[in-house]
Amino acid sequence: MMQDLLLKAVRKMDFLGAQFCDAKSQIVRTIGVQSINGDIRQLLQRNTGGVCLRAWIDGRWGYGTVTSFSESEIMTAAEAAVRNAIGSPKGKLRLEPEIVVKSLRADVKVHPDDIDLEEKIAAVLDVDKAQETDKVLNRVGSYAEEIKDNVIINSVGSKIDWQEIRTRFGAMSISSDGPRFERYYDGPSGTAGYELIKNLDIECLGREVAEESVKTLKAVRPPSGKLTVISDPMMSGLLAHEAMGHPSEADEVTKKRSFLTGYIGVNVGTDIVNMFDNGAVKGAHGSCPFDDEGTPASNTQIIKDGVYKGYMHSLETAAALGFRPTGNGRAENFGKRVWVRMTNTYFGPGDRTIEDMISDTKYGILCDKMYNGMEDPVGGGFEAKCLRGYLIENGKITDLLQSFTLTGRALEVLKTTDAISREVILDGGMCGKGIEDWVNVSSGGPYMRSQMIIGGGE
């Protein structure tokens, strides 16, 4: 019984001198299907699992991880965790985890295990075929499911086991016109079962992605400089995530790496700006009932009416800064370190419509879909890449614009935000801390109008 083994490991670390310790086992089952141009390019299943042991001694974590479930190897890893925690003391911080005893199954309507792989492959080939049109060079369909079974036991008495299920379905078209290539992509993802695909108009998704990809071949290079930018929900989410989200991870604050250190109560945006990180949004890709330290998910308001309210926490940062843990201590998997990580991060709604935001913009850019981004918690900047956009001239959309990048100072940008639309849309993805330790997140928001620096290559 895994719980008994983990309890034994916790007792061993306790005996060896850990002031706090936990043991986590994880079994992850994934299936991935990818097609290109009507052929299955990837079809694979992964069953991985292992155990992570953590010991906390005098303000330092020691980790030991193994990909084995044998008692002797887990006990050896427990010894390594304690050994790695012993060193020059960093402090006397006392961790204060909530004691949780709970067992939770994933709340999905159609469990992926109940659907034949044949049906999943057929859905991928259907979305691939729906993209078939002139000028689409590569049609890509993809499906992925991930079923994670977690168990955590710790030295204060928590015993938790829970399951997380995520599915993702996507289409991507690469179109070409002579030497020029462009792409477009779309598709849903979430903490959901196969209902995500059952509820989807697959043919429509494929057709629209192909059409948009071909349209992008006519896009022109965007203007550059400081301009009025209306971010769409995906780009608003990218800004929430990169510009304000990463610097609100409290480990950046305890390390004094965040430009938001000491900013609680300070005005950081116009009074229409609100921002949240909420790990309990039903069905969102970044939701998880517990973080990887066993803390239940919560809704953290980061900005309220333009005023900065607070950070996201793990056990360690909550103890260091005198707050309660917020359920943001997350790890990529059993083999990776726990960091403070976002879950579902988004700006709150405003009271405008996108139509009237465009109509009262004299000259600016409307974003259409994020590509990727990079945080800058130390410098207070951000890099947010957009797949394409539209030029707005005298309140009307004119040219289609090819890919571009937005940058600026996070605090300056939010102080120029003068219009926010009513709808909030979340979009799932993966987030790395720097360039590794990838976790499932979502980000989003409404349409938002601000001033930013924009530029794109030829």
Partner: protein, 442 residues
């Protein structure tokens, strides 16, 4: 390796009912030291072992991977792959797994006994030396990781290749304690634990101070972009690396499609894939068991060869699972085409001489992340710290600006190539400069 051989044999035995099968077994041990606020915050020891199994039966393909965490996992993995294949549509394009072939090269310096025998105390000592050489008003963060990788590939054609190497990776950041500090960065890639800890500490201090002194760039101009190795490596990988990738060629989306024998870059550029030297992926066989070899990719600006794996056919020994950053979870990764060590033939100038010869440019200390769009070559990158060059002299330091251009075009506008080569990820590159790049600020 004996244990891994028995796992591989067992998997192939279970798989003898298939037309073709291939097994990859890997065991890694990683030790990582994390540094926060110039102090060691965590030390980790991670032992990871797993198996990946690929098979074909009646032109149907299956693939599965597992962590080796119990007696039944080998059979489970093989059965899983078969089950996957049973649902798969027939793939008439499958060319089979690779055939046995003799090694074509020898490698040197890819196993470091110091990494194999490292203790947490020794890791702490190296990091301590870096910390001791950081200026007092500079705060250091990041990690240093060393790993051993032992891997084995066998297939039903009789391929049997073993690989052992060590991997050293460090990601270090630095900032001053001033009000708007900015951030410096140094990344270490390699196979040997030969780290110039004192030099690193000094370089990180200089970069932190430069970042703190940077001023937002205002206006726009066209200039020469000077990229030191650390900023050039990934720019080259995402542009030339993508154009050379045989899978992109196979699907018709390479920006150097059908250009073998044609001029694709400035005459001054020559690129070679060199697996013979101590680089993170250097090996005698790739991760499918194909022999690797030293290969000219671009010679004096002319395209000579793409790189390929068994999927696209005529493999050049570039089917890889390994990475230059992390050894964990290699069995979970699919084979992808990568250069093993894409080397820019060095020029004769030092970085200082390149700056001397630059009329109007920026030498970039740090982009947000140095990457061009692999499909289009376009880039729009936030400059987090760059030094302005006017008439051969550095006259200021800027940030908060976007550098914009197209890297495939930039490779046709090379001004100078330096001689200060350094391993950066899957490349070995010197400082290079490119004319006609746009910079825009506030």
């Amino acid at each position: 390796m004996m244990y891994m051989n028995s796992i591989a044999d067992e998997a192939l035995k279970f798989g003898n009912r298939f037309d073709d099968s291939e097994v990859y077994v890997v065991k890694t041990v990683s030790n990582t030291v994390y540094i926060d606020s110039t102090k060691i915050s965590n030390i980790e020891t991670k032992i990871d072992s797993g198996l990946s199994f690929r098979m074909a039966k009646d032109h149907k393909l299956g693939k599965a991977s597992v962590t080796l965490n119990g007696k039944s996992t080998v059979k489970e993995c093989v059965d899983m792959a078969e089950r996957i294949a049973s649902f798969s549509p027939s793939n008439s394009g499958f060319k089979g797994y690779v055939m046995p072939a003799k090694a074509k090269i020898k490698t040197s310096g890819i196993w470091d006994k110091k990494v194999e025998n490292i203790t947490p105390g020794q890791m702490t000592e190296i990091v301590g030396t870096i910390i001791d050489n950081v200026a007092t008003d500079v705060v250091l963060g990041g990690l240093l990781r060393v790993s051993t990788v032992e891997a084995l590939v066998e297939n039903s054609n009789g391929v049997h290749s073993e690989h052992s190497s060590t991997l050293v990776y460090g990601y270090l950041t630095s900032m001053t304690k001033r009000e708007h500090p900015g951030e410096g960065q140094e990344i270490i890639y390699g196979t040997q634990l030969e780290i110039d800890a004192e030099g690193l500490g000094r370089a990180l201090s200089q970069k932190a101070i430069a970042a703190a002194e940077a001023k937002p760039f205002k206006g726009s101009k066209k200039l020469t972009m000077v990229l030191p190795p650390g900023e050039l490596g990934d720019m080259l990988m995402s542009s030339a690396g993508s154009a050379l990738n045989g899978e992109n060629v196979f699907y018709g989306r390479s920006l150097w499609q059908n250009k073998i024998g044609e001029k694709v870059t400035s005459d001054s550029l020559s690129l070679t894939d060199d697996p013979t030297v101590a680089a993170p992926l250097a090996s005698v066989f790739d991760d499918e068991g194909t022999p690797t070899e030293k290969r000219k990719l671009v010679e004096n600006g002319v395209l000579r060869s793409y790189i390929r794996d068994s999927f696209v056919g005529e493999s050049t020994g570039n089917g890889m699972r390994r990475s230059s950053v992390d050894a964990q979870g290699l069995y979970e990764r699919s084979i992808t085409i990568k250069p093993i060590n894409m080397v820019v033939t060095p020029g004769r100038m030092t970085q200082d001489e390149i700056i001397d010869q630059t009329e109007n440019g920026i030498i970039v200390d740090k982009f947000a992340w140095p990457e061009a769009d692999p499909l289009t070559g376009r880039f729009g990158l936030e400059v987090r710290c760059g030094h302005v060059i006017e008439k051969g002299k550095i006259v200021g330091t800027i940030n908060n600006a976007l550098m914009m251009g197209n890297m495939i075009d930039a490779l046709n506008n090379i001004e100078f190539i330096g001689k200060d080569t350094k391993i950066v990820g899957l490349t070995t590159v010197p400082t290079m400069s490119f004319s006609g790049i746009d910079l825009v600020g506030n």
